[in-house]
Amino acid sequence: MANLDYSIKIGGEAGQGINTIGDILSKAFADQGLHLFAYQDYYSRVRGGHNFYQIRIASFPLYSFKDQLEVLIALDEASLDLHSDELKADGIIVYDRENIDPENKNPNSLALPMAELAKTHGGKAVMGNTVAAGAVWQIMGGTPEVLDNVLNRLFQSKGSEIAEANIKAARAGRDYAAENFSGRCSCKLDRGDDGNSMVLTGNEAIALGALAAGCRFMSSYPMTPASGVMQYIARQAGRLPLAFEQAEDEIAAINMSIGAANAGLRSMVGTSGSGFSLMVEGLSYAGVSETPLVILLGQRPGPATGLATRTEQGELLFSIHAGNGEFPRAVFAPATAAEAFWTTAHAFNVAEKYQVPVFILSDQHLADSSLTVEPFDLNAVTIERGDVVEEAEHNKTNDYKRYQITESGISPRAFPGRSRQCVVIAGNEHLESGYSTEDPVTRSKMVDKRMRKLNKLAGEIMPPVSYGDEKPETLLLTWGSTYGACREAVDIANKKDGKLQVVYLPQLWPFPKKRTLEFIKEADRVVTVEMNATGQLGRLLRLETGLLPDHAVLKYDGRPMNAGYVLGELEKGGVSPWQ
């Protein structure tokens, strides 16, 4: 198959249904056997404004988006105004002719009567979106049955009549395009391998990871971009034995999960910046009470309410240092949807084995972007609950000590009501039994015991992952979804004899000092790449190793970066935000 790499942008107002078009096409492309990277750009409003949905498809795996478009689907005037520039010279425009009457008609465009065709063929004007998907599919030469099949699957849940109607609407779009599109399409689809991959957002992958790990309780308060995860899990509550509860606030959310976790359930909360700020006291409680808890922190631009629907990576140092007092924790930051699944499942094991709060640092760009992902091998998911007192054994003794001082710092857990023993959970400093104490010697011992867990935890840090030149001129050090842009930058640069490498850190705390230093040793210069203003990964590197990166590539305007941005900034030399 040719080296196909196309980008399609769907632009319009909130409420016009660009999502519908995007979702249909994404699925169809995937079924056609293509790799996909799709992301959305939307305002914090329900109607109006200017949103877009950008799909990139290729014959090779994708990690990021491109700036140049092969196809623009415009549902409003603004989409033409704002995005025509991004279109390649021979790119195609499909627009809603009932809404838009462009002055300069691009010869390579199709003026589509969306609502009209929808009404006549599907029965309802809203199916105009399906019409548009059909028209684009036709122009790009997609296999007709693939699209029909996708529509059937997507709309089946709303009844087969609706599914049928959508298939008809899509056909109307196809037919209309076949007859009326007189331009040239240089972005035809080949039929690839038969598609058998999922289309998954980061949020969906995290939710699936949690469910695979046996998450039995999630309490959360809605907040973009974490809402997707809780809503996904809420939807499964009838099918799997678990409870989801929308708490009255983030404080209740984390404390409900703390209650559930100490009563024996794998538990999780999800939130974003402001909401996480409210959880900080609960986090500290989880630390001292040694409660296993998974915290999804879906980053968006701050401070405070910030930019609700945009992306940033501004809470790395906050998540590592949050909470009064000192206690161990772990921080993970998956870079892709596939990884997000495995990392989340792993996070539950780490939380229970070490009885610590564990973060999954995600960001809006990871959360809402969708990728093609091979189905996960569920047999490979392991469940490690750590040291739990067996019920039988527990019934024998009569002096269960929830906070027994051990060499590893890990005390075997037991759950209230599961034996004749009583379990005492503490948020004050405490004796091994869990009862409060103010004794100075015990205090020091308990601090040591808790911190000692880090030794073992440090032994199983997820190692940094590298890609590209192994003795690079420039090492791009990065984390989270920004990996995608870096990885592609490496590909582009190294193709024209650049010597770039990207190393990203799937686990940021405890910090993988040794492996990171090994990578740094091989590199001529180190440039951190991240979505924030103060260069937090660079600061963390210095905090943990004493070294500062040479430069940083930063972005903090709420919009994700891609390879073009990374390479452009590298050319300018990057910045040094650390003085």
């Binding site: 999922m198 409900m256 006291e281």
Partner: protein, 288 residues
């Protein structure tokens, strides 16, 4: 059916002040549980921070000593995990009506399967005497040295406005009534709320045992019908020469508690459900 209350014995020093109203509450609490046939390991006491919250540090029982004001959310999570546990939340008036006020609203709304006891001494005991939301108008405390500018909150009226199925006021000076109310509250399915008037001889020099003894009366003995919410609200409005105690409201038809409302047909405690990654196969494949 009763178990020996000695099962609850624990050899730990009690740090309350002599003469504190908490002693009576603790005694009744243990006796009631034992009389009702609960063994310590069948009960989970979720305790707030404050003198009241120290209660379960003094006897054998499952307990979670949580953050100031957060006992109800923790109790919510724990009771969902294993509904065979009898979950009881215990805290002070500062804990429950100040720091934790929001959770009271929503625990009531959810009708969580928890009995909630507020040891209401109308003061912050543990932190040495600051005003609480129930401190009376004019009360001089370290944070209201010129006299409290506010009238005290009426917790009974507040909770009645939340559609709570069981609402009562007890008094540490009347152990018999307290025991009776407590037993009913513990039997109740769903959320049961008891505000317990508790003298704090160390810091609340106004609302003493004597002060209460001169004022309290049992509304149920005076013929109040606990089935009538509006009547309950009216009765709860009284606070002054006479102070009503007893069961203000007890819903006639039991509603399902929160666990039942949320999890419906699921009988097995969540904590007993096996963890099996393969169980999500079907869900995952919907993404194909």
């Amino acid at each position: 059916m009763a178990v020996d209350v000695k099962k609850y014995d624990l050899d730990r020093e009690n740090t309350w002040c002599p003469g504190c109203g908490n002693f009576a509450i603790m005694e009744v609490f243990k006796n009631t549980l034992a009389d009702m046939g609960f063994s310590p390991h069948e009960v989970l006491v979720v305790a707030g921070i404050g003198q009241a919250g120290k209660m379960p540090q003094h006897f054998r029982v499952n307990t979670m000593h949580v953050l100031h004001g957060r006992l109800l959310p923790v109790a919510t999570g724990a009771s969902l995990a294993d509904h065979r546990l009898k979950v009881i939340a215990v805290g002070g008036d500062g804990d429950g009506y100040a720091e934790g006020g929001n959770h009271l609203i929503h625990a009531a709304r959810r009708n969580i399967d928890v009995t909630y006891l507020v040891h209401n001494n109308m003061i912050y005991g543990l932190t040495k005497g600051q005003a609480s939301p129930t401190s009376g108008l004019g009360a001089r405390t370290p944070t209201t040295p010129g006299g409290n500018p506010l009238a005290g909150l009426n917790p009974i009226q507040l909770v009645l406005g939340l559609n709570t199925g069981f609402v009562a006021r007890a008094y540490a000076g009347d152990k018999k009534q307290l025991g009776k109310i407590l037993e009913k509250a513990i039997q109740k399915q769903g959320f049961a709320f008891i505000d317990i008037l508790q003298p704090c001889p160390s810091f609340n020099k106004i609302n003493t045992f004597k002060w209460f003894n001169d004022r309290v009366y049992d509304i149920n003995e005076e013929g109040h019908d606990p089935g009538n919410l509006v009547e309950a609200f009216r009765a709860a409005g009284e606070w002054g020469e006479r102070i009503p105690t007893g069961i203000f409201y007890e819903e006639k038809e039991e509603r399902p508690g929160f666990r039942e409302a949320l999890l419906g047909s699921l009988d097995r405690p969540l904590v007993e459900e096996e963890l099996n990654p393969l169980a999500i196969k079907e869900i995952m494949e919907e993404h194909l």
